[in-house]
Amino acid sequence: MAAKKASPDLVNSSFSFKSLKLKTKQQELLLRVSILGLVYVLAFIARLFSVLRYESMIHEFDPYFNYRTTLFLTEKGFYEFWNWFDSESWYPLGRIIGGTLYPGLMVTAALIYWTLRFLRFFVHIREVCVLTAPFFASNTTLVAYFFGKEIWDTGAGLVAAALIAICPGYISRSVAGSYDNEAVAIFALLLTFYLFVKAVKTGSLSWALGSAFGYFYMVSAWGGYVFIINLVPLYVLVLLITGRYSMRLYVAYNCMYILGMLLAMQIRFVGFQHVQSGEHMAAMGVFLLMQVFYFLDWVKHQLNDTKLFQTFLRITVTSAILVGGIALGVGTASGYISPWTGRFYSLLDPTYAKDHIPIIASVSEHQPTAWSSFMFDYHILLFLFPAGLYFCFKRLSDATIFIVMYGLTSLYFAGVMVRLILVATPAVCLISAIAVSATVKNLTSLLRTKQKVPQTGSTKGVGSSKSSSKVTLDQSQPFHKNGAIALLVGVFYLLSRYAIHCTWVTSEAYSSPSIVLAARGAHGNRIIFDDYREAYYWLRQNTPTDAKVMSWWDYGYQITAMGNRTVIVDNNTWNNTHIATVGRAMSSYEDEAYDIMRSLDVNYVLVVFGGVTGYSSDDINKFLWMVRIGGGVYPVIKEPDYLVNGEFRVDKGASPKMLNCLMYKLCYYRFGELVTEYGKPTGYDRARGVEIGNKDIKLEHLEEAYTTSNWIVRIYRVKPPTNRL
């Protein structure tokens, strides 16, 4: 309105500028496009800290597997990839890669790679993999914009795009190099939701179709698709209950569910699970319910008799529930419908994993979230979120109901598992964006009316009822105006704090590749510990190509990807017994462990040890989990044997079993001769701050093959059995 007011002035003052001057709508479009463009670029470059600080490299553990498979895909082609039986992992079982992974990420990266090559950009596949996550994060901001626009208005969309571009909760999983499924999955998740909301809003078959394809992409990319296939039916159910059933919803859900299901079943890893497993049953139940609803609607229309319809309703609903219940019962009893998996249980009951599945509980990112990490990852969004919810409830529509449900459910899951903060992030950003956008809009409109009212008063005078209402508003002007300005300043202050916080978190916490460790030296210089790669490259170059390496499963993917050697267990923890066997070997005495290692054809054993550098996430600190997982399958291994009064120790007071188990021996072999810190006795473990309890370690069946320069990785060779003479 201000612009409209300004244009006549402009006509009077200078005529020549008129032709150059953009119309308000064009101005707005230009602003919007340039803001979006900037946000797009910002989302990309904010994730490049690690590349600038370290190098263009793949991070962490799982991304190495993804990188390896992508490399395979680009070298051998899709058909070979789809039918790949990998004998380099899970020796001697092997792993059917094509059937046990979500290929979305690899195919995406390979497609980008092939496209670039077609356009004569001869990039290395590694560069593509490293930059896939930032690229998709940028795309996510676009989807967030459209989503925000759909549920609120363009302003909210822009704010949502800006918030999600730098939200640490999302950045933690999408920095350059973190080439993991989540990198593309969050994009797919938000896209599916957006298209579905759009489909529900318009009732258009094409949007529903788009949503089905978005779902397909999500299924191909990440196991988190289960969240979609449960949230969408839940949403539909809520709409049904609140009496918001419409043909639009019917079209949207049916199309999305049926097509999405058929498409999802094309992914080998999902296959018939989509109709058979308990996790997918809710969607099917809601689908049937929709048909019943539609049928009832039709009958109601036909009967035109309320009493008769009531009876009919009762009978139909009862029989439908009965049939459904029986079907479910029979299905579950006959084993046709598989029960819920442990992972799913652990989501519903946070204590479940700790008692029943130690392998899930042992992963740090599966721990329940602490309050501090919420604050760390969301910062002001945590306070804006409830405010946004308030605005959503105030303007309830199909779309806002969806975002509210998405926000609340995902926030619950985020509380259960640290890594699921990621799933909640888009919802939190969107809802917070509504809060910011609505607040700022209200405040600025307040300011604007004030500037304008005196003008209108002077030119037109108080005439219509509209202006009179403004006049009544004007009476509280001074207070309102100052208050609005103060609040606006406050909002911008908060938002700038958010930006600063996000940059700081990204740079400090989420941009370390974890494969290269950096520390500050005594003189403030940066010291790099590149021991992991040193060890993996040593394995790759100096061991026989068919050597089998036993290590704890954390390092499996890295050993196969960087060391190019066969491993016994890796991060794809599909076989608990196999992992337990390794855990048992690590926690047994050397003789017993030797038998286990012989039976697994192990040639080398790799342990990670932080005693020299003070690196705390080493195998000794993970050791109790090995004992627990090993003990879960082999009752010979008992956790109390390794503890002293319930305490885990490595010094003189440690339990004898602890001091002589394989893991202890391998970590501390000849460590007793070393002075690690000035003024401390030999064999002083810097990671745990104690002098070790067993300094005279003799190895009988193993020999030291290589130890890296900072002792972080130690590799032992398993000796062949001696002649029995």
Partner: protein, 461 residues
Amino acid sequence: MAARIWIFSVAVALFLSFSSGHDLQIVNAERRIDLSSHIVKAFLTLKVENIGKDPAADMLLAFTPTQIKHLSMVQAMAITGKKKKKTYLPLDVKPTEQPDAPNDTGYFLVSFATPLTPGETVTLEVLYILTHSLEPFPSEIAQSESQLVYYRDSAVILSPYHIKQQTTFFKTPSARVESFTSVDPANRAGKEIKYGPYEDRAPYSYAPVIVHFENNSPFAVVEELVREIEISHWGSLQITENYRLTHGGARHKGVFSRVDYQSRRSISGSSSFNALLAVLPPKVNSVYYRDNIGNISTSHLRTGFKKSELEFEPRYPLFGGWRATFIIGYRVPLEDYLFEAPDGRRYLNFTFGCPLVETIVNKLTIKVVLPEGSKDPSAVLPFTVNQDLQVKYSYLDIVGRTVVVLQKDNVVPTHNVPFQVYYTFKPIYMLAEPFMLVSAFFFVFVASLAYVHIDLNIVKK
């Protein structure tokens, strides 16, 4: 050790008939063999006299079949003048075949600058370099042991000519010599073993000797080196070197103990090496050092006016038989290496060989990637190499770049001499790629303009 002298008395008369009528004899010969690194360098000083009736234009150098297999290069120079005013004149040396060569002897033909008239003498200095000629014995050693090697040669010089007087010196890296074959008179003083002087040895005399000594110098062997030199007429030369390095000495056996390696460095792993030095051109920039799995952070670059030195360490120390692969890449300004020949062609003048000091390269491939649109490439080298042409596609290439591939086996640092690659190139081709980018952007904007202005709706709103 009992000295056994095998005299190749195989038809001296026959030999006399084939040596192209020349009748030469070596009046005095001195041979100094440097065994201090794993590259064996032999310096021969020969005083040759023509005792025949016709002038002699060339003479032969003889090598045993094993030596021929390991021979990396042979150079010869004629010395004129006395002590202080010595002048060296490089002579042309090329391998040659001789019919009836006894016991597969290999030959090199040295052409004199001016034919040797009867009775005239000339002093020659010959340098030949042998690789892979030190055999570790014991062939496997533990971390704490030092490396002992065998060197096999003859106490007398193998030659098709009569040698009146000769001496041979072996220089070992340390005073620790386990044993050496005694061929009277032979004696050792410190790092030097002296064989001779021997008088009046017939042609093809041979007296095998074995020297067993300690050699802990780094046996750095590059099994394969691929150097790619990419010429960009926009002002730089990008060099990428792919190394496959191995420790060619006695194999490491048993444990590798980090405690011993880091605390008792003097006695532990004495034959291993963990630092390498590469001599790069001056004004080098954008140097990187990485391998298949990422950047390696242990390197230091010192740039200078005459040369730059890159000191770097592989990820782990190399013990006998251990391998490491890595890539070194750098960029140098174009104007120092690319010139225009008088006939209008351009030529690249660059150094052949391997930048690493004291290393043997078993197989060296140099790929000179010419800019897109270059024609008629030809390479000029002071020695023979295998040449080939390939096509490479790089950023925004349509027809591909011509690649001149030069391949040579058994390369030593002495091969680091300049070579030239000539080609013709029209500067207009330089504009092809920017033009493509500009037009691509142009089309994007035209397309978006068109999209905004065209109404694609079937139904009029």
